[in-house]
């Protein structure tokens, strides 16, 4: 759960987040794209991503629909990357998330060489993405700037909560949940990861 595009916070707050995603375009390169999407995520594995995911199914930590009553004492918190890859079943973005620039750079280089034909984007620091592109020998095609929040910003929660809730790019983490979990950082990160639908 590391959305960076419209995340609240300074550039320093996401300097260790590199979100790389592959997106098929409906009607243009979506036919037969499932193996390519899987391949994209498989290419990421050697570089130790912190998460993989796709919007229809979620990230590598997912809610369990059949928990045992012992869940209060013992829950499996091992990310299952293979399940993410095997579970891709429809044309949609897939995402690989890294916590260091070197891993993102190496992955991008490999993804470029794989020539999957899918659109690949980096979400995050403009400068970080530029450096990744330089390393991989990629010329940026387009850029979509985030200009932040405007309008009735008084309706937003306090900045401490906002920094947490906006880590989910689809806004699925409520401010009240963040407030409840703020004193339980370990449980909070795991529970929030499960709640975040697309892992980014």
């Amino acid at each position: 759960m590391t959305n960076t595009l419209h995340r609240y916070g300074s550039a320093e707050s996401f300097e260790d987040d590199y979100i790389v995603f592959a997106t098929p375009s409906s009607g243009r390169n979506d036919v037969g794209c499932i193996p390519k999407l899987k391949r994209f995520l498989e290419l990421a594995l050697p570089f130790k991503p912190v998460n993989l995911g796709d919007p229809p199914h979620g990230g590598a930590l997912r809610p369990c629909k059949n928990l045992s009553t012992a869940a209060n004492w013992k829950r499996d918190i091992t990310p299952d990357f293979r399940a993410v890859i095997d579970g891709i079943s429809e044309p949609a973005s897939v995402v690989a998330i890294f916590d260091n620039q070197s891993a993102a750079e190496q992955f991008l280089k490999l993804a470029k060489e794989a020539d999957l034909g899918l659109s690949i984007n980096i979400s995050g620091s403009i400068e970080g993405a530029r450096q990744c592109c330089n390393f991989a020998g990629i010329t940026r095609h387009s850029v979509g700037y985030s200009l932040g929040f405007e309008g009735k910003t008084e309706k937003l929660p306090n900045t401490q909560l906002l920094a947490l809730t906006t880590m989910c790019g689809h806004g699925m983490i409520s401010a009240t949940f963040a407030r409840k979990m703020i004193d339980r950082p370990r449980s909070a990160s795991l529970a929030s990861l499960r709640n975040c639908s697309a892992a980014d």
């Binding site: 300074s10 928990l67 209060n72 690949i120 990629i138 940026r140 095609h141 806004g171």
Partner: protein, 280 residues
């Protein structure tokens, strides 16, 4: 979404995870209840909570006994202990709520999940935003505030009046019954969604004008607005046209989606066609 009152044990976990704050414990029936007018059918409760399948009567009894001893027992914070949430078969126009709010739902109009639009993410394939053009994504309701579609119409009216083109492959555009005026279908106006993106494209020399227009109209809209601006890079991968305009208008550019330009058309029927953006 519905909560089965026969299963709910009023643990209150779901009241925290609802991004709209639409779930509350009704003191009369002592069960979690959904305010249907505020619920945006995002499924954060159903998809986000893990579920146990405990016997509701047993849970109530144990909790009651513990309560006598002033001991509180709560399930893990992201668990519904009795699997009380039950999705309902949504009918028009309520089904719009889910389409715009649940990132796992696919927008029928575009075939895209999430907010339903590809924006600049596939610009290398679609050429949606060309050189000397700028694409605006104006997102309403994000993060965590939500928006009524009637409110967004204020913006689409103003944009249409300014003569801008709405992106055709965008689910919000598909709700308009008149794109020339930016008017939405009457039957969807009162629907509330977690967020929705209005997408337009103008020539780059209109960037400042649109920024000011959006800034002016958003004052009349009862929610937050999240602005994104997409544009092409030059042959060296630099972007020196739009960034200076944005910075001149007080925006600090730190984060972006960067399209690497490695995509291509591979669907066989389209291979020989030039890419084109869909604007109406």
């Amino acid at each position: 979404m519905k909560i089965n009152p026969n299963k709910c044990v009023a643990c209150g976990n779901c009241t925290y995870v609802c991004p709209m704050g639409a779930i509350y414990i009704d003191p009369k029936i002592k069960r979690a209840t959904i305010n249907r007018d505020e619920c945006v059918e995002c499924y954060a409760c159903y998809n986000g909570l893990s579920t146990e399948h405990m016997n509701p009567s047993l849970v109530r009894m144990v909790r009651g006994l513990l309560q006598i001893g002033r001991i509180r027992f709560d399930p893990e914070p992201d668990v519904c202990p009795t699997a009380a949430f039950e999705p309902e078969d949504l009918q028009w126009p309520r089904v719009i709520r889910r389409a715009f709010s649940d990132p796992r739902a696919t927008h029928e109009s575009t075939g895209v999940q999430g907010r339903g639009t590809e924006e600049v993410k596939t610009n290398d394939v679609t050429n949606r935003v060309k050189h000397n053009e700028v694409g605006f994504t104006i997102e309403f309701g994000r993060p965590g505030v939500g928006v009524r579609l009637r409110d967004i119409q204020k913006m689409t009216w103003a944009l249409a009046k300014a003569g801008v083109a709405f992106e055709k492959r965008n689910p919000f555009t598909s709700l308009m019954n008149d794109v020339s005026t930016g008017t939405l279908r009457e039957d969807v106006l009162d629907e509330k969604v977690l967020s929705a993106i209005v997408e337009i494209k103008v020539s780059s020399d209109r960037t400042e004008e649109i920024l000011k227009l959006v800034h002016e109209v958003e004052k009349e809209i009862d929610t937050v607005v999240c602005l994104g601006v997409g544009t092409r890079c030059d042959e060296n991968g630099d972007e020196k046209v739009i960034a200076p305009i944005l910075e001149r208008n007080g925006y600090k550019l730190e984060r972006a989606k960067t399209n690497l330009g490695v995509g291509r058309v591979t669907n066989s029927l389209l291979k020989n066609e030039a890419p084109s953006g869909g604007i109406q």
